[in-house]
């Protein structure tokens, strides 16, 4: 066997491996190539190369031969038999987003991947923060994603769990298909079945099978999806296998009944009150207390009523509170936790739980046919007011009771509203969620008019987007006042950020005037005017961007 030792001239024109003879030469070449590599690795001083040429020293002859082989090997490359092709992705029936919206999404996603963080925010909009809104709008309008952007979208959703529901709904079947090919995107498969269309009645067998044989995550998703569409079927499915489930699983499954909770769930929940696991018992009790007509609610109402009463001896109507002296077995079975957290008295801890679980409607009858507002206005003896009102707040939130929420919130302008009254800001924000959107916006607008922005962040967070006109005006006016007062804008960066995302884009026109750098008053913080102008510019450009985004998605 002699490898060719031709001059480079001829190497440059290898007789391409078309013929049988060439193929044979190729096989020949392969074995010889290994030998060439070995000789080169060890050195021609140690290993005599498998090639020689007259008039060439060993290294040159080796390189000559290797050059021929290299070019021959490259020129002889041929297409290989294909591996098994994956099943194609299922069709996405939705229309792909319009071209302008597609480019917008690409910019939003490009910004996401390049997030550096730090530094002054400047006048440019924060594109990352607009992605959730863009996705929500695209989903409302039923658009499909441009496939080439799916990898960037999945990467964004991978890093931000809060984006996932919207991102995956938008990403659709092709993202599922991709996720099966790339382990980085496994999360898309986990979350998937939850948003699947409700299974039809003819798929009952499939549901049973998935419930019986599925992985835990798949079963939770199945239960959630069923519960959203046919709540009773979901409960029946769960009660069939209830006894055989593990305690942690029972807790998760029980929690999914929160969606679409209804009186028909009561027998099942009552039975869960006797569960082996304390957490399951507590959750069952909590759910039952959200059903005002349940037997548990009635028991709690009786217990609570025995603790809180009208003081008939006082000159004007007032409430007296006698907290429970013990936590008996019945209370414990109904979900009252006997041991208070560190730093709290046992009796007030038990009282709070009783009042929280008692149906609010029951108080009116028991306290002299008073309206919620009148009840809340009653003085409370012996410093029990804070405890009692806090418990009522939790009850109003749990029972989604708007009239009690309204009463507990009080008028937005009252000096109490901003102070550290009986009801904390966090509780207020929760109470607001039980009110209709317009009322919520009005209340928060009134609050801001009276107390400014410094306490408003949490409250604004629960208002519907885009903000109602009155609320938007209140926020802008308050920002304007804060600027005139000469403080720095970053004291309000939280509210500013919210405003960028939540203000109605139509406000941009009105805001334009505020982007100018004002004359600095003498007592102002140095340079504040410029920073405010910058902040307002960013606000205006973000609003314009949001308007453009909506426009691009078809208004």
């Amino acid at each position: 066997m002699t490898a060719p030792t031709t001059a480079p001239t001829k190497t440059a024109a290898p007789t391409a491996a078309h013929t049988e003879a060439a193929k044979a030469a190729g096989r020949h070449a392969r074995t010889s190539w290994e030998e060439l590599v070995t000789a080169a690795l060890l050195g021609t001083d140690r290993r005599t190369p498998p090639v020689t040429a007259p008039g060439r020293d060993a290294p040159a002859a080796l390189l000559d031969a290797a050059a021929v082989q290299t070019v021959r090997r490259r020129a002889g490359l041929r297409a290989a038999p294909a591996a098994g092709r994956p099943e194609p992705a299922s069709q996405d029936p939705r229309p792909v987003v319009p071209a302008a919206a597609r480019r917008r999404l690409a910019t939003l996603l490009a910004d996401h991947t390049g997030t550096a963080g730090g530094g002054r925010r400047g006048t440019a909009p924060d594109l990352v923060e607009l992605l959730p809104q863009w996705l929500a709008m695209a989903n409302e309008r039923g658009f499909a994603p441009p496939p080439e952007l799916l990898p960037a979208l999945l990467n964004a959703a991978r890093g931000r769990t809060d984006l996932r529901p919207q991102a995956l709904a938008f990403a659709g079947p092709r993202a599922q298909w991709l996720a099966r090919l790339n382990p980085d995107w496994k999360f898309a498969l986990r979350a998937a079945p939850g948003r699947a269309a409700p299974p039809g009645p003819q798929e009952e067998g499939a549901i049973q099978r998935r419930w019986q044989e599925g992985l835990f995550a798949e079963r939770v998703a199945l239960l959630a999806s069923l519960r959203a569409h046919t709540p009773d079927t979901a409960r029946e499915l769960l009660s069939d296998t209830w006894a055989t489930e593990r305690a942690e699983d029972r807790l998760m499954f029980l929690d999914s009944l929160r969606t679409g909770l209804r009186p028909a769930d009561e027998p099942f929940l009552e039975q869960a009150l006797g569960d082996r696991s304390r957490n399951v018992r507590a959750t069952a009790a909590e759910l039952l207390s959200s059903l005002p007509d349940s037997a548990l609610a009635a028991r709690m109402a009786d217990r609570a009523a025995s603790c809180v009463a009208l003081d008939r001896t006082a000159p004007s109507p007032a409430l007296t509170v006698e907290a429970p002296h013990e936590c008996d077995a019945g209370m414990e079975r109904d979900g009252v936790a006997p041991k208070p957290p560190a730093g709290r008295g046992e009796r007030s801890w038990w009282l709070g739980q009783l009042v929280e679980a008692a149906p609010l409607a029951s108080w009116q009858g028991r306290l002299g046919d008073r309206s919620p507002a009148d009840i809340v206005a009653l003085p409370v003896a012996d410093d029990w007011r804070a405890e009692l009102h806090a418990a009522w707040c939790r009850a109003a939130v749990r029972q989604r009771d708007a009239s009690w929420s309204r009463a507990l919130l009080g008028p937005p302008a009252s000096p109490d509203a901003a102070g550290p009254g009986a009801v904390s800001l966090a509780e207020r924000a929760k109470l607001l969620t039980t009110l209709p959107a317009t009322e919520r916006a009005e209340w928060v607008a009134g609050f801001i008019d009276a107390h400014g922005l410094s306490e408003a962040f949490q409250l604004l967070g629960v208002c519907a987007v885009p903000w109602a006109p009155a609320l938007g005006r209140a926020v802008v006016d308050a920002l304007n006042i804060a600027r005139d007062a000469g403080s720095y804008p970053w004291s309000f960066s939280g509210v500013m950020g919210l405003a960028e995302r939540c203000l109605d884009p139509a406000e941009a026109v009105r805001l334009e005037a505020l982007t100018a750098v004002p004359d600095e008053p003498e007592d102002a913080s140095p340079g504040a005017g410029g920073y405010w102008s910058e902040a307002f510019q960013r606000l205006v450009s973000t609003l314009r961007l949001r308007a453009a985004m909506r426009e691009e998605l078809g208004g």
Binding site: P8, P14, W33, R74, A80, A152
Partner: protein
């Protein structure tokens, strides 16, 4: 001469950005907020004032219809090219706001913009009217010949030295090279730069990286040593070679092209633009496809370390222009070219080069090697191929009809472009343009269906 009202897409604008941070910064300026008095001539010139951190706004002006790709001028101090203001202005120009163009057309440029545009225009006119500087203009032909001879002597000395180094390497064994590391090769590369043989220098520098490149490095190192040996011997015996091959050797050695070929006018579609960088140089490759001639051409542009190359053509656009092929590169069938006169501003286009099956693509590369054995890859468009995962060995592009496939080159397989390609396909066949070489196929652009816009990978 120029088309009225042809605006680019945002993707195309962003493709001009020198790097990702510029893209991001530019995107943020692509809104009406910071801009004032923005306008467009409708004939390719765009201008505007951008509010920056200072009191005086930056003056930004762009000529999108320039013969050598878009030209930019901005009064900002940025050394990025184009700067974020130019990108932002182009983005603003490419989009619309409230249903109308955000940058109005048919405006008169303000004085500061007009001066610059007029100066450019005059220069272009002057260049066009003056006869091209021929060899006669280069001074004394005798002196030129002497210079060429002196350089050839130096290159020959370099080639001889390199031969000796390679011989030493093989005599002692490449196993020793693993320990020697970069240092040895860096020094040799520097000597090749001194020998005025940049082609040698680049290859030598690359040799240094191979021992650290993972399993199989001895075979790769031997391949590259052999090809370098082939080049040096080719140089030393260039008088005995056929003229075309001798020209290839000269070009691969890094000697300047003697003359350019006949200009080729066509509507050139920009298929791909990508950069590769080492610590000294950023190299930008732009692949063009002539819609009428069917020619494929490669434009190269260089930038010093950390700076973007000047030439930028957005993928997915087509331009009516002349290309000047490199005559020194006949072996590569005139792939290399320079951009000559541009007759219109680039405008969006659809469609793609005709595709061939994977088996044919491999043959094309093989045939091209016959003319240029140093060729790493050959540009091809694959028609109707499906990206297919091939176990642990990476991905393939498979032809569903023949069930033959090309492997996707492993560096490309780790890039995000691969996943864009896979997502675009969804398991269905598509058309893919890329470079087919001995490492496999590197996808650069794709079209999911006929008439689709070019998707950059």
């Amino acid at each position: 001469m120029t088309q009225q009202g042809v605006r680019w897409t945002a993707d195309q604008v962003l493709a001009l950005a020198p790097d990702a941070p510029s893209q991001k910064a530019g995107s943020k300026l692509g809104i009406a907020g910071p801009w004032s008095r923005a306008g467009s001539s409708g004939e390719g010139a765009v201008w505007g004032l951008c509010k920056g951190s200072g009191s005086k706004p930056y003056q930004t002006v762009i000529d999108t219809a320039d013969v050598a790709g878009p030209a930019y001028k901005c009064s900002c101090p940025s050394r990025k090219f184009p700067c974020k203001h130019a990108l932002g202005l182009l983005l603003l120009w490419s989009g619309e706001e409230d249903g109308r163009a955000a940058v109005p057309d048919g405006e008169e440029p303000p004085d500061w913009a007009r001066e610059w545009l007029a100066a450019r225009h005059d220069k272009a006119e002057a260049k066009r009217s003056s006869p091209p500087a021929g060899p006669a203009a280069a001074g004394d032909p005798d002196a030129a010949r002497k210079r060429a001879e002196r350089r050839a002597e130096r290159v020959t000395a370099g080639a001889t030295e390199l031969e000796r180094r390679l011989s030493d390497l093989l005599r002692g064994g490449m196993a020793a090279a693993e320990q020697a590391g970069y240092g040895l090769w860096e020094e040799t590369a520097a000597r090749m730069v001194d020998a005025q043989a940049p082609g040698f220098a680049t290859r030598v520098r690359e040799l240094g990286a191979i021992p650290g490149s993972g399993p199989g490095w001895p075979a790769r190192l031997l391949e590259e040593c052999a090809l370098l040996h082939l080049l040096t011997s080719g140089w030393l015996r260039r008088d005995e070679l056929p003229a075309a091959l001798a020209a290839t050797v000269r070009s691969r050695t890094g000697l300047p092209a003697s003359a350019q070929g006949r200009p080729l006018r066509d509507t050139w579609q920009v298929l791909a633009q990508y950069d590769t960088a080492d610590n000294k140089l950023t190299t930008r490759r732009i692949w063009l496809h002539g819609e009428r001639s069917g020619h494929t051409a490669l434009l190269l542009s260089y930038g010093a370390a950390g700076r973007a190359p000047a030439l930028a053509l957005p993928v997915g656009l087509a331009l009516d222009a002349e290309l000047l092929p490199h005559a020194a590169d006949p072996a590569s069938r005139q792939l290399r070219a320079d951009l000559g006169e541009q007759f219109t501003a680039p405008c969006p286009t659809t469609g793609h080069p005709p595709g061939i099956p994977p088996a044919e693509a491999a043959v094309r590369y093989g045939e091209a090697l016959r003319d240029d054995p140093w060729l790493e890859s050959w540009p091809v468009t694959l028609g109707r191929v499906v990206p297919v995962p091939n176990g642990d060995t990476g991905w393939q592009l498979a032809d569903p009809d023949s069930d033959l496939a090309l492997p996707i080159a492993s560096p490309a397989a780790t890039r995000s472009g691969l996943w864009r390609l896979v997502a675009l396909s969804g398991g269905a066949p598509l058309t893919v343009f890329g470079e087919c070489g001995h490492r496999g196929f590197t996808p650069l652009a794709a079209w999911p269906y006929d008439g689709a816009e070019t998707v950059r990978l």
